[in-house]
Amino acid sequence: MKGIKTTIAAAAALLAAGAAQAEPVKVGMITTLSGGGAGLGIDARDGFMLAVKQANNPDLEVVIEDDQRKPDIAVQLADKMIQQDKVDVLTGIIWSNLAMAVVPSAVAQDKFYLSVNAAPSQLAGKGCNQNYFSVSYQNDNLHEAAGGYASSAGYNSAFILAPNYPAGKDSLSGFKRFFMGDITDEVYTKLGQTDYAAEIAQIRASGAESVFFFLPGGMGIAFMKQYAQSGVDIPLIGPAFSMDQGILGAVGDDALGFKNTSNWSKDIDNATNKAFVETFQAEYGRLPSLYASYGFDTANLLLSAMDKASVSDADAFRDALRAADFNSVRGKFIFGPNQHPIQDIYVREVVKEGDVLTNKIIGTALTDHSDAYASECSM
């Protein structure tokens, strides 16, 4: 039976012009669509699906499931997608603890994994894999830029704060790698923590010249509101995750002036980005966040590889992915040796455009920046 199917498939492939392109690709997207981190996953999904819709490629099929930000559920979904749905490519995971639970076993089963966000250091160095591509960044990147910015802004000391999970650890080590001043305190909070009174009290007592915090999603909202109410006026610095477009509306004017580092911003000046921001807004009625931009780039990377190679020829498909021959919303886009991007990282400031709070680029923190783990990766 299987033989007949293969024969028919081969015959069909011969008949179709451009056999490689006609091969369907099935993508499994595991992302966070409910619970505390839902805004991030929804943005990544919407960005991804926007590109899929624009390409209108009938050979691309996407299965989307909600991981609820729970590692066990993400693992179950990955197993189901690989065994039952027979996907070729997995993508979508937002949180690094979930990525660590899913990615190593998925790539070991010869599936491609394209990261729309999470990129823990463990997967960038010794644990790198030829089937694993991070389209977004390596976890440390934006925090390294924040450390560099804090030094160049003249801060001699910093109080640093992040959640206790893989990306939180990457965050603080990234910041410290590029920050020249003293670290007064280093605090890890619980992932999903909502009250920061105890930490803010320590910040008040620390006498630091700046505060660096990495608290994505709802955690960032809670921290920013409580910090503004606390009367502590030490300047805050963070990666874009602590102040993405989804958070700004909920924090309100207290966010104005906040400096954050990002590899994407809606005012990066290129035609692809301009069209992306406009079409995203028209399609979903809100401004895209950086997660949406990563989703959009990931889908376009995948589509570019589908144009060049058939997914059943893994080596050719991998080479096509490595070439990254697509128009990125970040302008230029190239992969480094460990298949993480080499890119510019900007400093942004929260501003008000009319009634809408958003981020605006005020400078470049790092140019053509790779990551600290690339040299440990042997592929």
Partner: protein
Amino acid sequence: MFSLFLEQLLNGLQSGVMLFLMASGLTLVFGVMGLINLAHGSLYMVGAFACAAVAAWTGSFWLGLVASLMAAAIAGALVEMLIIRRLYNRDHLDQVLATFALILIFSEGTRWIFGSFPLFLSVPDFLTGTVVLGGSFEYPLFRLAIIIAGLAVAVGLFLLIGKTRLGIRIRAGEADRGMIAALGVDIDRLYTVVFALGAALAGLAGAFVGTTQSVQVGMGEPVLILAFVVIVIGGIGSIKGALVGSLLVGFTDTMGRFLLPHLFATFLDPSSATAIGSALASMLIYIVMALVLFLRPSGLFGTAA
């Protein structure tokens, strides 16, 4: 250092008082009706969303606060009359299943109405800023207001239960349901009132907490877990236990997060002290719960089942 310590004590008190608003409703419903209500966190979310929506619409935080009480109480009363009423005579597993389903319904319903992105809710202007409490010791005014409001609600609740006719019925209901029904008390109405009261307290907590945190779908579940820890520590069904348990959990959690990393730093290098200290701090309340259960299996103020 002394003012930092004092500030942390107040933070612990504030977190305990907020937990009490959640836990008192949960323990009341369990004590009077013998019902395990997992959907209590959803009522907290309803309160927060109602407050955020009405405050955004009218521009008044106070109307939002009233709306949070009303919305949670009405949602609670409706849920009790339509669904919960059918569960009193079922075993706890059925109750857990049905109220878990309610969590999903409330969450998806809220997402359907308000979307997946967090709503904006801020502190009213005159409560922003800090107050100086002697010397150089400053404390956020809003947190102080939450402590006072929460303690006022706690006193009100004790008076309600201890001094009023409704309170007598509630206590009688806890002691013997069959008997007070036989004495002519409309037990159905009493149950609806108690459930709505518990819901309103949760809604109020949601509104208070929503001003300092993120108003988003699923915000109720982490608090629900803490509230369960509180009532297990305090003794299920006891309001006094809920108060003591809330304060114990509030202080333990806050002081643990603050002191444990410092404690470990005295004999470990800074980075592992931070890692171990914060990991242990997030477990601390569960360790306390295990200890209490070990020493007093029915909780601090619980009556042996």
